[in-house]
């Protein structure tokens, strides 16, 4: 069943996603046509997804390949290659619906425009300018069609470039933190896209719009200028004026494209840096590989590449060889060594004292009450509950006073050491003990006994 072009087009526009799919396929694969299989599969998927039966029937008739050929939407169906090509005008209409799918002008297309303008100039130079001359009228109409078309193409191209620059820079700025290899791969692909757009679209467009560059080949805008002058000299000032207006309109895009170029400049610099690094690594790797391959000879003496590489400049030249024998590191365990040292000094002092000072009381361990006796338990409880807090100027004196007050008659001087030890245990994580070796040593007299000691300060 044949459905008219307008109805088919309306249905295609209503179901834009279908054509967008085809356009994407062609762009991704850099083709102007699609395989028949892709067309058939997309159609089937579309029909299956259509819920209403009537709609599905309508679409089936409209999107039938033969109907599309009859309606002129499919311009070419190559049976032997199994490819389908759509009418370029139809594709261009659909591209206009979505900025992302608007194609930029590549070098070849810009050159084609330049050639067309050059031809137009040559034709006009050979013409006699007269409204009675039918060839002149045809050429003039053709010229204005061409200018209109170029103006519109350049405008679309500028919009496309601005959109692409926005899209790519958003992508790159958003993904600043590259944490995985996959992310890094995506960023690298985006950077390559930037480079591609820059080289293939932006630079050719800027060259196209450049009026200052002089070379053997005339720039498109210079060609338009010459055509305009021809019209002016031959008395067609109005036409000359309109041609100038087109030229200005086309030229006005220069600034916008230049801005896009500047936006992408820094990413391009980034991409260049990566490329340089990649090339350098590749070169160094290939050099290494060659040296390694050269060792695979019958000469078993040269199994390693050290000699060959040593001749080149090495970046870490002369870096010392690590050897455990050279390890100068001193192992300091997690201990407070100053305390150990202080204890050592105390011990030394005590030895000297034992020879010199007769009145110093030394406690015989055998006479000491055992660790679980009642008094010791009492001291432990008292120390646990006491309110003595650092800073303490003299720990022995403080604990002695505390125990003498609380234990009264039961207290003996030898229990002071136990009390101090319990207290040190209690505050070991929160306070720091400092031993003071002042002379003469402080003394505690209690019940006809004397304790001579090094003062402990608690902070």
């Amino acid at each position: 069943m044949h459905i008219a072009l307008d109805r088919t087009l309306v249905l295609l526009i209503e179901h834009k996603d279908l054509m967008f799919g085809f356009i994407d396929y062609m762009d991704q694969n850099q083709r102007k046509d699609i395989p028949e299989q892709v067309f058939t599969n997309s159609m089937l998927a579309k029909l299956t997804a259509t819920i209403k039966k009537n709609d599905a029937e309508r679409l089936k008739d409209a999107f039938d390949r033969n109907n599309l050929i009859k309606a002129g939407i499919i311009s070419e169906f190559n049976k032997s290659r199994g490819t389908i090509a759509f009418q370029p005008a139809v594709i261009e209409i659909f591209r206009l619906f979505d900025k992302e799918r608007v194609r930029g002008l590549r070098s070849a297309e810009l050159e084609n425009i330049r050639v067309q303008l050059d031809n137009a100039l040559q034709q006009h130079q050979a013409l006699s300018f007269s409204t009675d001359n039918i060839i002149f009228r045809e050429q003039r109409d053709h010229l204005f069609d061409l200018l209109r078309q170029v103006n519109s193409q350049i405008q679309n191209n500028t919009e496309h470039l601005e959109h692409e620059a926005d899209r790519l820079s958003n992508r790159l700025d958003h993904d600043q933190a590259i944490l995985t290899l996959d992310e890094s791969q995506q960023i690298r692909e985006v950077l390559q896209q930037v480079k591609k757009i820059y080289d293939r679209e932006i630079i050719p467009t800027l060259e196209f719009l450049n009026t200052r560059e002089y070379s053997k080949v005339k720039t498109p805008l210079a060609l338009i200028d010459e055509i305009s002058r021809l019209y002016d000299m031959r008395g067609f000032e109005d036409d000359s004026y309109y041609i100038d207006q087109y030229k200005l309109s086309i030229l006005s895009h220069y600034k916008a494209v230049e801005k896009v170029r500047q936006t992408l400049q820094r990413y391009l610099h980034q991409e260049r840096q990566h490329r340089l690094t990649y090339n350098a690594i590749e070169k160094a790797y290939l050099n290494l590989q060659t040296l390694a391959q050269n060792t695979f000879t019958e000469n078993l003496k040269e199994r390693y590449i050290f000699k060959a590489l040593a001749e080149t400049e090495l970046y870490f030249k002369g870096l010392k060889t690590y050897s455990s024998a050279q390890d100068s590191k001193i192992e300091w365990h997690e201990r407070n060594h100053s305390l150990y040292f202080n204890e050592y000094l105390i011990e030394q002092n005590a030895r000297q004292r034992s020879d010199a000072v007769a009145e110093v009381v030394s406690f015989d361990n055998k006479q000491n009450p055992d660790s679980n006796n009642v008094l010791k338990r009492q001291i432990r409880v008292l120390i646990k509950q006491c309110e003595i807090k650092p800073p303490i100027n003299d720990l022995y004196a403080e604990i002695h006073n505390f125990l003498a007050d609380n234990l009264s008659e039961d207290y003996q001087l030898q229990y002071l050491l136990y009390g101090v030890s319990c207290y040190k245990q209690r505050v070991k994580n929160t306070a720091k003990v400092t031993v003071n070796f002042e002379r003469p040593q402080p003394k505690i007299h209690y019940k006809s006994k004397v304790l001579e000691y090094n003062k402990r300060e608690l902070n």
């Binding site: 791969q185 690594i281 790797y285 090495l314 010392k320 060889t321």
Partner: protein, 180 residues
Amino acid sequence: MITNKLSQTIYSLLINGKAINKHGYVSKTNELEESELYNEIFNNFEEYNTLYQRINYELVHKNSCFFYIRELGGEDANEVTIKIQALLIIIGRIITEQGYLFNVLTDHRAGVKTEDLAIATAEERYLDILHTCKLCLKRGIEEEVNNNLVARGLMFINSRGHYVLTEAGASFFDELATSD
């Protein structure tokens, strides 16, 4: 003026063939911090230089980002250097050949896993090179990287357990790219 304590630590690192980088990695914060050892050498470079010259070493400051010492007139240290360069080139190649961004190796939050480097011992083309540099003959790539790069301050392992190039390691690639 030279600080005794720092000077001892610096000596201990340099004499063992380690590079002292401008920034050190702090795994608790997953950030880079200025190295006080680097600053100590940088601020007293003349004194340190004289000090090391007197014990027959040259204090080398490279790429304005790391220090190491080399023996004056010494020739026997090339094997170590070659091993390091070969490892760095192969790691760089593994990353770039697969289309990854090189930054992944230098970003302290990113880095590469041991599994990503396993290709070095899995593929003959890399293994041949490594063997001719006396690498990976008995040890795996992880051990070689730890012994030759991490232990020497050319790479570090971040809080995710990934290998990342230090400034010394990265500057090798900078030099490669600029001299190319």
